[in-house]
Amino acid sequence: MIKLTVNGQEHAVDAEPDTPLLYVLRNDLGLNGAKFGCGLGQCGACTVIVDGAAVFSCLTPIALLPGRQVTTIEGLGTEDAPGPVQRAFMTEQAAQCGYCIAGMVMRAQALLAHTPDPSEQEIRDGLNPNLCRCGTHMRILAAVRRAASSLRAAAPTKAAAQ
């Protein structure tokens, strides 16, 4: 049994220690967001956040994860109450087939946490590990710009509330 903390919840997982996190999320924890794209760290469809950093869950064995915080797109919000990055992607209709989109959102979430006011080049470089084949790039870029400004607009309120 390996203990994982995913979206704030603890799980005891009965899987071989070399099992990549991706398969445990999808098949053991019922979290569909992270997708199998390449298994090679080349496309980013499996991107999740571990301790604040975007990682390829297809290359991250669960043996490395006890004591660390895993966040998946399911942890950002729901259809009825989406998180700011999810909301920005909805507003921009930034998906075609959408297979890559959960990975894009997670990559953007991690980027904006570190770089709240990114330049266009910083956004493009930040999304560089993730591939989209439908050609939705321009909308994804617009969604990340929109998310950045909405997060910045919300930040003072949050600071005041705290």
């Binding site: 071989e16 569909n32 794209g37 399911e74 989406p82 209709q93 297979y99 959960a102 939705t136 321009m138």
Partner: protein, 735 residues
């Protein structure tokens, strides 16, 4: 009473909808009038629309959502014509047990076929519902209004669709053109309704076949033949059978697969199994760099496309050029996936195929079952862009599921399997010769295109990937061209321009050095690249502005409007000051010369040291007929241009004489974010009330030629072989 008359009386019972004009000696037959869209093959209204006594509205389409927003657009069409809120429509997509057979979801046909059928079916269902109230009340139908599925009579009485549906049969034949709304009254069609599928995709909902989980489900992986025609000599199945979680190893001739309880266990077992397999292989592939030239040289069947002969002024200048494209791949981000469960009753397969009915026929043959024992249910997958691994992975799931009856089996291909096993977009070559008169008009045009087939979609078992591995393969049908006006390799080889003299020949090459099939836009990608590059070359030879030169030869009014709109939006008439290494390009086509019009203007710059092209501002104008969802059209055109910009700048399948070398994204690079255009704008020319023209494949050819034309404008070199890679640009500019 004949069948026709009984249908008439049914319709009469539904509210006296039809008026038949009796012609002496010639009984009126509504059946004789061609029905629009897919109503032709499936004319009964209740095949498309059903209304339950509880008011639940279910609609059916034989087309599949391929990630292009089709479901949302169809829901808009149904909601508009039925006068109901879009949220009330439940849309059932491609399922051999439930929906009309609409063949393949391909060729930008879904709105034309299924959209048109549902438009008319919904309009006629509404008409029948309203007529029922009119007859009951003895009032004219025109005095009634419908608000969200409730019919309002002048006196204030209301009747909801659910209660009316109980009195009415929709098991009636559709009639041509009945009950359609005036486009001026549209409230849902023509608006950018948000896509219905996006919220689930952004929150981890089960959105794809890859996300399906079933009780008792097992995971399986196939070990593919390492090269075409490889024969399995030896494999150690015993060691793999003892691995943790392994349920069974499947071997049938050279077909090899493993089933396990867990997905990662299946992957590890697949790797061990693959490592122990010994194969006999032969070198079957050509030399990669020579592929288009090889296609040009193989025996071909010549198919005349057009021949125009008219008096013209004498030619003063004649130029020729040759254009090629390499093998290119669909490259879905999500490798293909399917689930299957096998029992004594037959096999059910959940699949992201583009054609559930043809796939059913192919799987039935492969499995040796009657077709009615196979059910194929479409579930959305990753975007496919044509015939990729979707059908073949469904065959894997069906073949493997037989080994574990009663238990659902999920198979997803590995990245390497998707890259090396999918059928590729064919390598092609085209040759053009054109002559100009003293006034700078084209007076002669000669064009030939060489290509394999663009359609090897499986409708028989012999066309599935696994067939060659099985001990007794089924016969493989010979490749066939797709006839014009749609065409395969010759799609869009017929220029849209008004030329006095022209000859176009399609050279159909039956021999296929690599496995190929339909990839988005088919031959139109190369033909539009070639024709629109050549138009630019002719314009330069004539000393004319490329946009003016196109308009000089374009009489199609809608085409002219699109060209003008793109040029105006871009500011073509007001060029910026020239900078070294910067250029602008223009291109235009009407997809298949039957579908959507699309013109593209763009600028780019070339990095002198590396030959790298940086795309700047991209502006497109499009006319897709009546727009259903303008934002959906913009999304499709943006996607077509960005995807095809990637094809154009980077993409070619690499291989040696035996193996595909493009096994992953490092061996087949595609566009990443830093290289995306600076900006993309799409301007729609709405044509209310005009037929749907489809959208998904209108932009690929124009963007390719616009890039090549802008590259020439920037650095003065003309590249005619795709891709326009930095290596080729660098070599051409002599760095």
């Amino acid at each position: 009473m004949t069948a026709v008359l009984s249908r008439r009386s049914l319709l009469a019972a539904g509210g006296g909808l039809l008026v038949f004009v009796a012609i002496p000696g010639e009984p009126a037959r509504a059946d004789d009038v061609p029905l629009p869209g897919s109503l032709k093959g499936t004319p009964l209204l209740d095949a498309w629309i059903r209304i339950g006594p509880d008011g639940v509205i279910t609609a059916f389409t034989g087309k599949a959502e391929l990630g292009q927003g089709l479901k949302t657009a169809l829901i808009q069409v149904i909601a508009e014509q039925l006068d109901i809120a879009p949220a009330r429509v439940t849309l059932v997509t491609a399922d051999t047990a439930r929906t009309p057979n609409e063949g393949f979801t391909a060729g930008s046909h879904s709105m034309q076929d299924s959209g048109t059928a549902l438009l008319n079916a919904a309009a006629q269902a509404r008409l029948l519902l309203v007529e029922t109230v009119a007859t009951d009340l003895g009032v004219a139908a025109e005095t009634l209004t419908v608000v969200d599925g409730v019919v309002h009579a002048p006196g204030g009485a209301t009747h909801d669709y659910g209660s009316l549906a109980a009195k009415l049969s929709l098991h009636v034949r559709a009639q041509p053109g009945g009950g359609l709304k005036d486009p001026a009254a549209y409230r849902v069609m023509g608006t950018s309704m948000p896509r219905t599928d996006i919220p689930a995709k952004l929150t981890g909902g089960a959105a794809y076949v890859q996300d399906m989980h079933m009780p008792g489900m097992l995971h399986a992986r196939a070990v593919r033949q390492p090269s075409a025609g490889a024969t399995l000599l030896r494999v150690d199945t015993d060691a793999v059978a003892r691995m943790p979680g392994v349920v069974k190893v499947v071997r049938d001739g050279s077909y090899l697969a493993v089933i396990a309880e867990g997905e990662w266990q299946a992957i590890k077992a697949m790797r061990t199994l693959g490592a122990s397999a010994e194969w006999q292989e032969t070198a079957t592939l050509p030399v990669q760099a020579d592929a288009p030239a090889l296609i040009r040289s193989l025996p071909a069947r010549d198919i005349p496309v057009l021949s125009w002969t008219n008096p013209a002024a004498p030619a003063v200048k004649r130029i020729s050029a040759r254009y090629t494209r390499p093998y290119q791949m669909h490259g879905a981000i999500g490798p293909s996936c399917a689930l299957a469960v096998s029992s004594d009753d037959g096999v059910t397969v959940w699949t992201h195929t583009q054609g559930v009915f043809p796939l059913r026929a192919a799987l039935a043959q492969l499995l040796g079952l009657p077709a009615e024992k196979v059910r194929c249910v479409h579930v959305e997958g990753s975007g496919c862009y044509g015939h990729n691994g979707a059908d073949d992975v469904a065959a894997d799931a069906a073949l493997i599921a037989r080994a574990v009856p009663g238990r659902p089996v999920r198979v997803q291909w590995m990245r390497e399997q998707e890259h090396t096993s999918e059928p590729y977009g064919p390598a092609m070559a085209a040759e053009a010769t054109g002559a100009l008169d003293a006034e700078g008009r084209i007076v002669d045009w000669d064009y030939g295109v060489w290509s394999n087939t663009h359609n090897r979609r499986p409708n028989v078992g012999g066309l599935l990937l696994q067939n060659a591995a099985l001990p007794t393969p089924l016969p493989v049908p010979p490749p066939e061209p797709i006839p014009m006006p749609e065409g395969g390799g010759e799609r869009n080889s017929n220029p849209i321009y008004a030329l006095t003299n022209a000859r176009v020949v399609s050279h159909f090459v039956p021999e296929m050095p690599l496995r190929v099939s339909a990839m988005r836009a088919l031959g139109a990608y190369l033909n539009v690249f070639a024709i629109e590059s050549f138009m630019d070359e002719l314009a330069i030879a004539a000393g004319a502005d490329p946009v003016t030169f196109r308009l000089r030869h374009l009489t199609d009014e809608r085409g002219r409007a699109v060209v003008q709109a793109a040029a105006d939006s871009f500011g073509w008439g007001k060029p910026a000051a020239r900078e070294p290494g910067h250029g602008r390009g223009f291109a235009f086509a009407r997809y298949k010369n039957l579908g959507a019009y699309c013109a593209v203007a763009l600028n780019l710059s070339v990095e002198h040291e590396t030959g790298r092209i940086r795309l700047g501002r991209v502006v497109a104008a499009v006319d897709s007929g009546q727009p259903i969802n303008p934002d959906g059209i913009r999304n499709q055109i943006e996607g077509a241009m960005v995807q095809a910009a990637s094809w154009t700048l980077y993409e070619q399948v690499r291989f040696d004489r035996r193996h595909i070398a493009s096994t992953d994204w490092s061996g087949y690079p595609i566009m990443r974010f830093p290289a995306a255009p600076e900006s993309v704008e799409v301007h729609i020319l709405p044509r209310p009330g005009q037929p749907f023209l489809g959208t998904g494949e209108a932009g690929q050819g124009p963007i390719a030629a616009a890039i090549a034309n802008a590259l020439h404008d920037a650095v003065g070199v003309r590249l005619r072989d795709l891709p326009l890679s930095s290596e080729r640009v660098k070599a051409a500019i002599g760095v």
